[in-house]
């Protein structure tokens, strides 16, 4: 028999016991819909976790003692992590180290070094009962970023008036400031900001404005970009070439290493160099590795949800097995007759297997239709757009195909091995 004939035969069989077949198809459909739904949610979740975004390759370097990520990671099961010998010397993240890293690791495109600071303006009124010196809602508080000048161009900020400070200015402790658009309007309304002084209450420190940045427009949030929020706040920030709190020290808390290419091994290359030169006193972190660690932690939960969601499809597959066995039993006599009339074992085997596969695949298609109908619901649940991807669709169809194949083989073998003479004797 040809394939088309086999297919027509199996459709006829499904039609003759329509209710039964429909029930199987619905069962498989629900199983596939659950898997596709959970898969869609996982994919929507992992999109926020976008590991392929180029910014995921960025590596940060900090002294192990300054790494507080462990504390914010409340899922950690141990109360302490070792940091090595207590009297080991701390490796300072200085401009000299930056130069050394740039020479030694050719994959590095740029190294950013910056720190967030903040101070109140000199002569600002101080309310009674005030315990803190700096507050975001306070018009006299200024957000500062002390750092190498390359951070400004890296963030995509452009100069509107004046100039940026140079690395020489930075190394020579020049009190220069490049101010954001909103800061300029707030501090120097209807004046030329260039050359003006900004005086702080801390230690009589002051900065000279040498440049004003263009206004940064509001953008759509990009959750996988670690610099998004900083870029959004640039209008309200002041870049400084001097650390107003530590005029002498020139060491940073953290270095940000930007790779030249999208080589995913970048973190490993940096780590190899750091371990060889400085032992385990510096932590090398990449956003990608952090995310992978988080995924690793979430694994027990994901496995639990995954197995629970595949349970429905498995139950539906058992249903196929059960009903196909019942059908073979019921049609023993007719199979015996077909065999006696010259139909081969192979033919009967394929007939029954194809019947299971048709049931499974129709169920799979029904499941995908169900999940497409339900996708607005899923989207509202995830609070974003989560339409089913073709990958998930194929995967769930593949699952449906696979289980109906696996659980269809045994009934098909059973049908094929019916002995015509004894089957014909059956009443």
């Amino acid at each position: 028999m040809e394939f088309s004939q086999l297919l027509r035969w199996s459709f006829r069989q499904i039609r003759t016991r329509f209710l039964e077949s429909l029930l199987i198809i619905i069962a498989i459909g629900i199983g596939v819909a659950v898997i596709a739904g959970v898969g869609t949610l996982f994919i929507a979740g992992s999109r926020e976790f976008n590991l392929t975004h180029p910014e995921q390759n960025i590596v940060t370097l900090e002294a192990k003692e300054d790494d507080y990520s462990f504390i914010s990671h409340s899922s950690s099961q141990t109360p302490v992590i070792p940091l090595g010998l207590a009297n080991a010397k701390k490796v300072a993240l200085t401009p000299a180290l930056i130069a050394e890293l740039k020479d030694a690791i050719p994959e590095i495109n740029e190294i950013l070094a910056y720190e967030y600071h903040g101070s109140r303006l000199k002569g600002a009124p101080r309310p009674e009962n005030e315990a803190f010196s700096f507050r975001r809602d306070d018009p006299y508080s200024i957000d500062l970023i002390w750092g190498l000048p390359n951070i400004i161009s890296f963030l995509g900020a452009e100069i509107e008036q004046g100039d940026l400070y140079t690395i020489e200015d930075f190394l020579n402790n020049k009190n220069f400031a490049v101010i954001g658009h909103d800061v300029a309007e707030r501090l120097f309304p209807e004046q030329n900001p260039l050359g003006q002084l900004i005086e702080f209450e801390y230690n009589d420190s002051y900065l000279t404005v040498i440049g004003v940045l263009k206004e940064i427009p509001k953008e759509e949030p990009q959750f996988h970009s670690q610099f998004f929020w900083l870029r959004q706040e640039l209008n309200n920030r002041v870049f400084t070439s001097v650390n107003i709190y530590q005029t002498e020290a020139k060491a940073f808390r953290e270095l940000t290493l930007i790779p030249k290419s999208t080589n995913t091994k970048f973190a490993a290359i940096v780590r190899d160099y750091i371990t060889a030169q400085y032992g385990d006193s510096l932590t090398v972190k990449s956003s990608r590795e952090e995310r992978q660690k988080e995924l690793e932690l979430a694994k027990p939960m994901l496995i639990f949800i995954g197995s629970l969601s595949s349970l429905a499809l498995f139950i539906a597959a058992l249903n196929i097995l059960n009903l196909m066995l019942a059908r073979v039993l019921k049609r023993t006599r007719s199979i015996g007759i077909t065999k006696a009339l010259g139909s081969s074992r192979k033919n009967i085997f394929w007939q029954y297997l194809l019947e299971s596969l048709t049931l499974g695949l129709s169920g799979g298609i029904l499941g995908l239709l169900l999940i497409m109908l339900a996708s607005p619901l899923l989207a509202s649940f995830m609070g974003g757009s989560s339409t089913i991807t073709s990958g998930t669709a194929f995967l769930s169809l593949g699952f449906a195909f696979l289980v109906s194949l696996l659980f269809g083989i045994y009934p098909a073998i059973k049908a094929a091995s019916i002995n015509p003479s004894s089957a014909l004797k059956l009443e």
Binding site: I30, E65, S74, V80, R136, L318, L323
Partner: protein, 407 residues
């Protein structure tokens, strides 16, 4: 009785079919039992916690609000109660027994010249031990007179991580807020067990409590108040009055008792239980479809037999109930199998631990097997069997005997 005999005979005739159907049901019931078990176990645990301490502990946070570009923010630290005014309140109000500030510190520890980053470290005076009930394995909380002497109590987990043993009384732990800072050594006076869930929810993970270094640690910004069980409401009013008097109208006091704190985290775990519940529900639905289809096949195969029984005088009603009971027995059999499977899984794996991936607070011991979960699941499988047996039973009952005999 005769009906049951009949059902068992039909089951014996087709053992494979019965087994497969029971397996389908059992997998659905397994999923349901696991979820019910987590739900009931977690409920019991939180209720027990809240009953013991819910009427005695209050968590207070003083903050003020400010508006910025992206919404309203909370700023903490601008307003606080001084240690003196708190002391006065404790003396004047009979409802308030004691109070302690909760100051978590970011610090590093030194033990045997090794440096550690530590989690769950708090600076607190002896009032901490009086306010928060801790269960000590060895030693006890430091007293008021020892407050100036650099004493500390640590958790069992901390003792095991740092020293490998809980026999650590008299040993010292060094404290370094940053690497260049001098080390201050603290003498261990006690090792406490992991506190109950409700304490962890109100305070956070606790691993080390040490005597305060700076006077500012005695400010009451984020603090726990212990009240008499009857006087909680009065205590809340007293606290609100005092905060208004001391901090002014812009200070907001967020006062929660233990049950309210627990409900906050319950919202979080309940979302996940709901998702898991939906998945389990689908598994049960699919397995009940399995029952429906196999019962339809069953009556089709027995058309002749039903015809004979009808013509020998069995009523429609009797046939209906026979098929219905058969479906329920099948389903209940699967249900029992499912409960047994769930029992085995609960014994082998700590399923109640699944939330621990989100927060160490949920690293719970195995909550065990709940009889409620078993009863609900078995009832569920019975209902499913009954519900999905109705249609096949109705089909069987309305078969005209003469036509059925002609088949």
């Amino acid at each position: 009785m005769e009906k049951l005999n009949f059902i068992f005979r039909t089951i014996k005739q087709k053992p494979l079919r019965f087994l497969l159907t029971a397996l389908q049901i059992s997998l659905g019931v397994l999923a349901a039992t696991l979820i019910f078990n987590i739900y009931f176990g977690f409920n019991k645990l939180t209720q027990r916690s809240a009953q013991s301490l819910g009427k005695e502990l209050l968590k207070v946070e003083i903050y003020s609000e400010f508006v910025y570009d992206n919404g309203v923010g909370r700023s903490m630290g601008n307003h606080f109660l001084s240690a003196e005014s708190m002391q006065e309140l404790i003396e004047n109000s009979p409802e308030i027994i004691s109070a302690t500030p909760i100051n978590s510190s970011f610090t590093m520890l030194v033990v045997d010249n090794m440096l550690y980053r530590a989690m769950g470290t708090y600076e607190a005076g002896a009032a901490f031990g009086k306010t928060i009930p801790l269960d000590f394995i060895v030693g006890s909380f430091y007293t008021e007179t020892e407050e100036d002497e650099c004493k500390t109590v640590i958790s069992e987990n901390m003792a095991l991580s740092l020293f490998g043993t809980t026999d650590v009384l008299g040993k010292t732990i060094g404290d370094k807020p940053f690497k260049e800072a001098p080390t201050t050594f603290y003498l261990i006076t006690g090792v406490f067990k992991k506190p109950p869930l409700v304490i962890n929810t109100m305070i956070g993970n606790m691993h080390m409590i040490y005597t305060p270094k700076y006077p500012s640690s005695n400010r009451f910004i984020n603090f726990i108040v212990r009240t008499t069980p009857e006087g909680q409401q009065k205590a809340i009013e007293d606290l609100k009055d005092l905060i208004f008097k001391e901090c002014g109208p812009e200070a907001i006091a967020d006062i929660k008792n233990a049950s309210e704190s627990l409900n906050e985290i319950r919202q979080f775990t309940d979302i996940f239980l709901k998702i898991l519940g939906v998945l389990a529900f689908f598994a049960v639905v699919v397995s009940s479809i399995g029952i429906l289809s196999i019962m339809l096949v069953n009556i089709l195969e027995r058309t002749r037999e039903i015809g004979i029984r009808r013509s020998l005088g069995t009523s429609q009603r009797a046939v209906f109930f026979q098929i219905l009971i058969e479906s329920m027995v099948l389903s209940l059999g699967g249900g029992i199998l499912g409960v047994i499977l769930a029992f085995i899984i609960t014994c082998l794996f700590n399923v109640s631990n699944i939330f621990a991936v989100f927060n160490e607070i949920f690293a719970l011991p195995n909550l065990g097997f709940n009889i409620e979960a078993v009863l609900v699941s078995l009832a569920l499988s019975c209902v499913v069997g009954g519900l999905f047996g109705i249609y096949p039973a109705y089909q069987a009952a309305k078969l005209p005997p003469v036509e059925a005999l002609q088949e």
